[in-house]
């Protein structure tokens, strides 16, 4: 098992590549959700100000 994590001495390069790749996958999901929430909030505000007028 420790042999697997050692990656024949390339552990630092291999594991940080996987961490960066997986991090980017998760970050993009978070960004997409935040972007939609923000757009919905903006549209709601605009509708609310339109209703008041």
């Amino acid at each position: 098992m420790s042999e697997f994590f050692a990656m024949s001495g390339y552990a630092l390069y291999v594991w940080s590549s996987y961490a960066i790749g997986i991090g980017a996958l998760l970050l993009n999901i978070y960004w997409a959700r935040a972007s939609l929430r923000q757009a919905e909030a903006q549209a709601r505000r605009r509708l609310a100000s339109g209703d008041a007028a």
């Binding site: 697997f4 990656m7 024949s8 390339y10 390069y13 291999v14 940080s16 590549s17 996987y18 960066i20 790749g21 997986i22 980017a24 996958l25 970050l27 993009n28 999901i29 960004w31 997409a32 959700r33 972007s35 939609l36 923000q38 757009a39 919905e40 903006q42 549209a43 709601r44 605009r46 509708l47 339109g50």
Partner: protein, 250 residues
Amino acid sequence: MSWAWFHRFGSPPYFYRLATRWVPWLSWPAGVLIVGGLFGGLVIAPADYQQSDAYRILYVHAPTAWLSQMAYTLMAVAAAVGLVWRMKVASAVAAAAAPIGASFTAVSLVTGMLWGQPMWGTYWAWDPRLVFQLVLFFFFLGFIGLRSAIDDVSRADRAGAVLAIVGIVNVPIVHYSVTWWNSLHQAPSVLRAQGPSMPASMLVPLLMSFLGITLYFYAVLFYRTRAEILRRDRGAAWVRELLTGKGKTA
């Protein structure tokens, strides 16, 4: 040929609903394929006879590099359609593609550096493949920066589209850079005329990662496109109905 489908896709409420429905159908297979592909790349695939375990970076590096090219091409084509036919939905797709493309271009560059250090003895070289991929990253940043500098969304879309179209010349240059010039970077080992040059236990996880990240890209793209459509159609009656659950007269 009927163009009715083209006009239907161009309708913001139609595309918004379609995008909402497609996201789960893309996300689940994407998740399964990516997890399977990365696990296969780390555990099942044998070590390379020259690079031993260092080559496993391939399973992150190649799919993200592929994604960067696909995202740019789609962004430029969608931006051009938005510019020529004044199609809001196409401009929304282009705006949604840019941040995804930019982030994965960065991942492809950084994982390339992490692979270059142990194999080439350097993180960076001023090599054609590396330099043109860096230029691709700058085109994404330029598109995002230019769009965010212009307050009016439709003007931002038009200005961004011109930049995106100019940058498309770089996509084939990145792809062929390893065949046109003597590059430190290896030539393609999957997408080549003679067929893939690796055993199935290496190839299958790689193909799973490629397919998985492609589906992932479209899932995130459609999710983001919904936000971009809302930004372009804020005052529309269908948005009111969607957000408040009631029509304009109610």
